[in-house]
């Protein structure tokens, strides 16, 4: 009897633990100790260490295995002897989490990740003099709040672009011109509309409200006080019943648009290019709606615990070279950071199409930033920080 009870008890515990661990996921243990960002910057780049471990967006690190003509990794490896190990991340949050492991040398961080990485001491200051291509980069991308803190550079600009509105031309008619089409509560495309499934998408609702509800006085969609934030969250909650899936990675959205599971919603130029280039091509179109949009401006940053810092410096220089910039800008569909790339693209008008040097265009694009308490103006500390954005997002998804 007692044996049986023991067995029962043990079994009881094991099953309870299996249930607990199966949803606990694999965490990376305790978060690393914060090292001070005031590490001495290197003054020279030595010989490569033989490899470099990168975290980047889909399409930023291509070695020709997807399309042989899009390969800027192999020439880099041949030239420097640094073997590239690439880990694709699908969101800024994922990038921050991966960088915290300390297992990577560098990351292509968007503005909503870069400040968190700097504040957490996960990335080190960059000596821009050691990256010769830095001097050619558009001045509009330098010394921005998302790559420079208190005059200290934390990375090399990669390129920028806007989040677009995409639709299947064989389903959605007429062609939309405004974000209003995704917030329409009596939409004929119910269940087929998609949003980007991350908290930062609240800013997209704020961009729409900025244009349509001037009384809210929204200026920057990442600096939202109570009223503005609640209005944006309400808009998304009203939109929720009309939504189908959220998309969280580019590949999932590509299959969903191919199978008509999604027909209308926000996207990156990368998915538009891939869908239009697929065989047979998927009939999609994408625009920057009249209200403007959110967007991104990415920065290559080096980890404060990089094991291969020399290779990382070499990579930061290589990815901002005119040749690599031309390839990556065309492949991903974005504006390059290096103007010298514009003469090397296969489509000669690439830089005009993507408004590389058109600041009036990028005035309508609100590049991803980390929301913080400090509104940056006379409202003081009354803005919603990212943890509140995360919490509200859980409630929106429901």
């Amino acid at each position: 009897m007692s044996k049986k009870r023991w067995f029962g008890l043990a079994l009881y515990l094991v099953i309870a633990l299996v249930a607990a661990t199966s949803c606990g996921g694999d965490d990376n243990g305790a978060s690393g100790t914060t090292t001070s960002a005031e590490k001495n910057m290197p003054t020279s780049v030595g010989a490569g260490e033989g490899r470099v471990d990168l975290i980047a967006w889909a399409g930023y690190v291509e070695d020709g295995s997807n399309y042989p003509e899009y390969d800027w990794v192999t020439p880099f490896e041949k030239q420097t002897g640094c073997k590239v190990n690439f880990k694709q991340a699908n969101s800024s949050d994922e990038m921050v989490t991966l960088m915290r492991t300390g297992n990577y040398d560098g990351v292509s961080a968007s503005g909503d990740a870069s400040l968190r990485l700097v504040a957490g001491g996960d990335v080190a200051p960059v000596n821009v003099d050691l990256v010769p291509n830095y001097k050619d980069i558009y001045p509009a991308l330098k010394d921005q709040p998302y790559n420079t803190v208190d005059g200290v550079h934390y990375g090399i600009p990669h390129g920028r672009g806007a989040n677009l509105l995409m639709w299947r031309t064989d389903v959605v008619k007429p062609n939309p011109t405004s974000w209003g089409v995704v917030y329409d509560t009596s939409t004929p495309y119910k269940g087929k509309i998609t949003d980007y499934g991350r908290p930062i998408y609240i800013a997209d609702a704020a961009v729409y409200l900025k244009a349509t509800q001037p009384d809210l006085k929204i200026d920057d969609p990442y600096e939202l006080d109570d009223d503005q934030f609640n209005a944006a969250v309400d808009l998304l909650k009203k939109q929720r019943p009309q939504l189908g899936e959220y998309w969280t990675d580019a590949a999932k959205q590509i299959t969903a648009f191919t199978n008509k599971d999604q027909v209308l919603g926000t996207t990156w130029q990368y998915q538009v290019n891939t869908l239009q280039a697929s065989k047979p091509p998927v009939p999609v179109k994408a625009i920057l709606p009249k209200e403007g949009s959110t967007g991104w401006s990415d920065t290559w940053m080096i980890s404060s615990s990089a094991k291969h810092p020399n290779c990382m410096y070499k990579w930061m220089n290589s990815i901002t070279s005119p040749k690599s910039q031309a390839l990556v800008a065309e492949y991903f569909g974005e504006a390059p950071a290096n103007p010298k790339a514009c003469s090397l693209t296969t489509v000669k008008t690439h830089c005009e199409i993507f408004h590389a040097n058109d600041e009036a265009y990028f005035d309508k694009v609100y590049e991803w930033q980390t929301p913080v308490k400090d509104c940056g103006d006379d409202r003081g500390d009354s803005c919603k920080d990212y943890s509140e954005w995360s919490r509200a997002w859980t409630e929106i998804v429901g």
Partner: protein, 302 residues
């Protein structure tokens, strides 16, 4: 190794032999040594990680740097209890786990009964293989296959189209995850029920019919009471596995389940303490569930 060391130890009393003489006189020590490995595994890897989980549930995360702050707070639990959305998600997950369990039990029972009592030895073997076969394929492959089946231009809509019907589709509803959960966990229900039914002696059923009971009554009053603990045992698997899963909802639904909130807090928001706090919810639910299952005798039939 050398001549001198060999001379020191008598040839028949090597260290191994001395150890076995020592142990043969001490049965308790023998048992302790035998169980030390598995027990250490259980205590350190299983109970240890659970302890860390509980401890970190009382920490918090700095808003900007998202570093864990190691000071005691009950805020995570307050948030879980006071925010409507977490209650909704918990209820939805439990309802889904219950629906999947009932569905699997209803489907599994006839199959298990046929295997245990009707089929020939050969058919039985074939059926066991057929049921185990899906477990050899990767879980992810099966979930993605369901994505393709359920998609707008997928085979389900194609098959239903002539009847003017439409599948549940991906995204909005709870139907798609319910279908996929029920499919994926079905073998975990069939096998314990089959084992439980096989243990019922045929003579009991014969006796029941000799005493004049019709087959329905035999089923209700003889088979079901004996097999019930086995069904409860199977339900432990289907229920607990549904409670913790986040991949199926992520792939075929846009609704959030407990696992998704935990996953998002670990991987997206990087808020481990909140994830830990919310992960204690399914643990508590399972403790209650297992206590009830124990009362119903499920552990005796495992």
């Amino acid at each position: 190794m050398t001549a001198s060391t060999r001379a020191e130890t008598p040839p028949r009393r090597g260290p191994g032999r001395r150890l076995s003489t020592f142990l043969s006189a001490r049965p308790r020590l023998r048992l302790a040594l035998l169980l030390a490995g598995p027990a250490a595994w259980l205590v350190v890897a299983y109970l240890g990680s659970l302890a860390v989980l509980f401890a970190s549930a009382f920490w918090q995360v700095d808003a900007l740097t998202t570093e864990v702050v190691h000071t005691f707070t009950l805020q995570n639990f307050k948030d879980i209890l006071s925010t409507d959305v977490y209650r909704t998600i918990t209820l939805r997950t439990v309802a889904m786990a219950a629906a999947v369990t009932v569905t699997d039990a209803v489907i599994a029972f006839p199959i298990a009964f046929y295997m245990a009592k009707v089929a020939s030895a050969r058919t039985r073997r074939l059926l066991v293989v057929a049921i185990l076969m899906p477990l050899w394929a990767s879980y992810l492959v099966k979930v993605y296959a369901w994505r393709i089946i359920l998609s707008e231009e997928g085979i389900l809509n194609w098959a239903l189209e002539p009847f003017g019907l439409k599948g549940p589709g991906l995204g909005a509803g709870n139907v798609a995850p319910w279908l996929v959960f029920s499919y994926i966990w079905l073998p975990y229900m069939i096998l314990p029920v089959y084992a439980g039914l096989e243990r019922i002696p045929d003579s009991l059923m014969e006796a029941s019919s000799d005493l004049g009971a019709k087959s329905l009554r035999t089923f209700r009053q003889v088979v079901l009471p004996i097999a019930f603990p086995a069904i409860v045992a199977g339900s432990i698997f289907t229920f607990s596995l549904t409670l913790g899963d986040y991949i199926i909802p992520l792939q075929v639904s846009s609704k959030q389940f407990i696992g998704n909130v935990v996953y998002d807090n670990v991987g997206v928001a990087n808020n481990l303490p909140f994830a830990a706090a919310y992960a204690t919810v399914p643990v508590l639910i399972m403790v209650v569930y297992l206590a009830v299952a124990r009362k119903l005798g499920a552990f005796d039939s495992l």
